[in-house]
Symmetry: C2
Subunit: 356 residues, 2 copies
């Protein structure tokens, strides 16, 4: 039976990425060698890395605008400390928006490097909304925000206005919607939502902001060194980068971010309409901040949970339980999820309404 | 035509690892889902991580001896700074053996954290040997060495004798030979030689040495945090860990390190015998320090290079050119390389002798 994979990440990827990457493991580019056994310095893999870096910038509309794209290892969590290491001055300070668990984790790491100013937090409301109306100190070394809060199902709808460099963790909604990406100075994203399998992190950097904080930075944490080495300072995570390239190629063929945004909006509208219409359910996040990637929702009557859980599992749905911080359900509808899978979930919600 | 892959890393892996991992990308454990799209918190992947960690310790004979195994991201180069961050005291010092390019890179990173004492170096001899007869300061916070120098084709044959904690970068010969691994307090190894594809790093730690240096360590660089989180502090590199598990399972089935050591010795003997016998060739490394993993050798007459290069390529050999620091040739004969592939190279060397 076809599976409808609502996992919050690692998550669904396009079927052609599975097929092409499995084939490359058996024989890469008709070389007689597996993608797993070739040198990262081989012509074939250097071409993969170069294309992935260029395509990431192209899709974001950042080509020729002073940005560099890196495919690093370590996960977005490593960026939590690389960002302050590279941008925060000795005795400097950084401003953070606390919109969720991962934003909070980023703040914790920045504290090892200097003063952090939390400009606003929705923690008291269990992060069910994205704070608004905050002001960013003009003397901050940078401002850090999280564009989409995977756990809570909220998403920033407006970009911050500030003259300090803006750093954004876009792990869970990168490549999903059109934004003016030139408003950001560093964008980073763990691959394992919209970009590829777990194991690599995209970091997009406006090069001119580097080299200004006066710190000595260990090589592996130094963005400038990674840029100079063309994202090959050390052996990169070859297979995750290759599978990410396949995913970006799929997105480009589809029509890029403009095309996928329409599909994502349609999927989100379909599901949120049902959450709002169906008397058995309610949304968990503030309506104006609802994420188009992760829809969090609850049963009004928890006693309906066993029958609902049986029904969606029988429909081939997986990965629907909510994060323990929120409870209920979380439907992650990343780029690769077809609207047909969302319809299956909506059908189950309607069937539940009739059954109880 | 069958390829004989002599790449220095990423490198040859067992054929069954390619086949099983390609299958898991199409359908993992008959779940209807790809290994690339499942949650790292899913029961199936937690089982992969747990088995990989346990099997690494089992193969090294370190089970039940106070060690923990982690599969981290970032590459062995990240360990160059994690080691001093976790072990070097403020105003402390660390002792390093400088036996090659990677040892030298590790020393460079340690200098960000405190005093480094280089107990011996073979740099003046272009690292063609492993220094011996050095003494390790008794007040060092730790001693760091590199068991196998991939670029130069040298390998430590004797373990260091010291009372300070011993840290060893075994990236290019882990799981290849029997050693008393209890002599080490931290062993780390990038996967991409004997353990799996690029994208994860095995770190084996004697737990009692942690938490003693008094530094505040950013979370992602803190071994204790990774141990507490059972190697899932953040999303791990799922596929590289899975392919590493498949490689370790293959090694266990084969009979473990004791069995592979015999095969590796036979392969190395076959090739070094030919290097020494064949009047056209000479070894690049000091005979007593020759690596069983990477054999470096040169043509006595560089004018023979074009014909030799044509001949080995025609025989289906790839990845034979030496690193630019040494020149000539480097035959990397990692665990997964069959002796038949080494025989093909020896045959070509003998055919060259007849041809010129």
């Amino acid at each position: 039976m076809k599976k409808h994979n609502y996992s919050a990440g690692p998550c669904i990827l396009p079927q052609e990425v599975f097929e092409k990457s499995a084939q490359a493991i058996l024989d890469f580019n008709n070389s007689g060698l597996s993608i797993l056994e070739i040198s990262h310095r081989s012509k074939d893999f250097v071409a993969v890395m170069d294309e992935a870096r260029a395509l990431a910038l192209e899709l974001l509309g950042l080509e020729g605008k002073g940005y560099q794209a890196l495919f690093l290892a370590g996960g977005a969590s490593l960026e939590f400390l690389m960002v302050p290491y590279n941008l925060m001055k000795e005795n400097g300070k950084a401003a953070y928006l606390d919109s969720g668990t991962w934003a909070s984790a980023a703040i914790k790491e920045a504290k090892y490097f200097g003063e952090t100013v939390v400009v606003a937090s929705s923690k008291e409301q269990n992060y069910n909304n994205v704070p608004k109306g905050y002001s960013i100190p003009a003397d901050a070394d940078y401002f850090h925000c999280t564009s989409n809060n995977t756990i809570f199902g909220t998403q920033m709808k407006e970009l911050p206005t500030t003259n300090v460099p803006v750093v954004c963790d876009m792990s869970s909604d990168i490549f999903s919607r059109q934004l003016d990406f030139t408003k950001f100075d560093i964008i980073y994203a763990g691959a394992q939502k919209n970009m590829g399998p777990a194991g690599t992190t995209l970091v997009v950097i406006k090069e001119e902001i580097l080299g200004k904080n006066g710190r000595e930075i260990p090589s592996m944490l130094d963005y400038a060194k990674h840029i100079k080495a063309e994202s090959m300072y050390n052996t990169p995570p070859v297979f995750p980068v290759y599978a990410s390239l396949l995913t970006l190629q799929w997105l480009k063929k589809l029509g890029g971010i403009a095309a996928i945004e329409k599909i994502n909006n349609a999927k989100a509208e379909l599901l949120y309409n049902e959450i709002d219409r169906n008397p058995l359910f309610k949304g968990a996040a503030a309506v104006e901040d609802r994420s188009n990637m992760n829809a969090t929702f609850l049963l009004n009557n928890p006693e309906h949970a066993p029958i609902f859980d049986t029904m969606w599992k029988e429909a081939g749905i997986s990965g629907l339980p909510g994060h323990r911080s929120v409870g209920g359900y979380r439907a992650s509808m990343y780029n690769a999820m077809p609207i047909e899978s969302v319809q299956v979930l909506v059908d189950v919600m309607q069937a539940l309404e009739k059954a109880v």
